[in-house]
Symmetry: C2
Amino acid sequence: MPDFFDVVRSQRGIAHYKPDPLPEGAVERVIEAATRAPSGSNRQPWRFIVARDHETKRRLGELYVEGQRRSRGSAPPPRPADEPPHFSEAMADVPVVVMACVERWPITGGEAYRGASIYPAVQNLMLAAAAMGLGTRLTTIWQHCYDEVAELLGVPDGWEMMALIPMGYPQDPDHLGGSRRKPVAEITYYDRWGNAEA
Amino acid sequence: MPDFFDVVRSQRGIAHYKPDPLPEGAVERVIEAATRAPSGSNRQPWRFIVARDHETKRRLGELYVEGQRRSRGSAPPPRPADEPPHFSEAMADVPVVVMACVERWPITGGEAYRGASIYPAVQNLMLAAAAMGLGTRLTTIWQHCYDEVAELLGVPDGWEMMALIPMGYPQDPDHLGGSRRKPVAEITYYDRWGNAEA
């Protein structure tokens, strides 16, 4: 029974994954956790595409790296010789890669708020993975190859891809140890912007 | 020590709150949980405004209801006589109302992906509240009064308000019992959109 606050503190974006398969039922368990998240008017406007096919994952990795290149306008710097390949270069070997999609229903307000109906579910999915000792990472850089990714996964026009999440055991389990964060006092105001006095 | 999966299953959008004060340190604890969430390049582009002042909360409730009216283009239907006031009509009595803000840094990609750097933190905040027996709700309808809310809370141009979250003990503790969700098999595809076979 993993303690809630331990799980929250352990989450960290994992860069290197073992190829080991996930435990039986793990994928369904993390998606079930995702479905418990809130969404606008409880619409539950989500679909999750679970990529396990080697060639599909290989191509996703290729489009991820190309997305980075398009985003920077240049190739990424070469990786130091002593560093293992980043998951994007070895995505075919990550056991599972999940694409979270949200419905493009007509909303009356700002487009940015559509994320309120999918990213809480994505966060539940990643936390549930952490609760099982699995690593994940929330990625969006592949968006710079949006059309190619949509074609690869067959995502129709009425749906939008919002997060690609690799999932597997971390190469270095210490990486589940949490990471540095800004202290609460630095990011909290009381009653009005800028008022840091509790 | 609340079990992670129990907390995830217990989350539910709460409509009615007790005016009872929160436990000592609860606000800081839920915001600390928020800071453990991922954000793009670990930028941690968040600020949380904790409204406790009676007049500020009263005005937030007013703007929430006005946001509903503007969104619908008409007044909401009258509430049944036997139903307690919705939290928006009684927001001054909700012990704490939190506004989550995200920085408007220049991103190369789509605006919708900015939510990936704030809604996971919002979800952590709401889950942490649930872990302490507190109710919350993710709301965005006040966005239809964006300028008035920004003026009230003093939010500067470089930041965007993304979620307003009431927080307090639920009037009916059963409401922390979870809600109905689409089954995993209905929302999961394998390798390609539409392929429901695991």
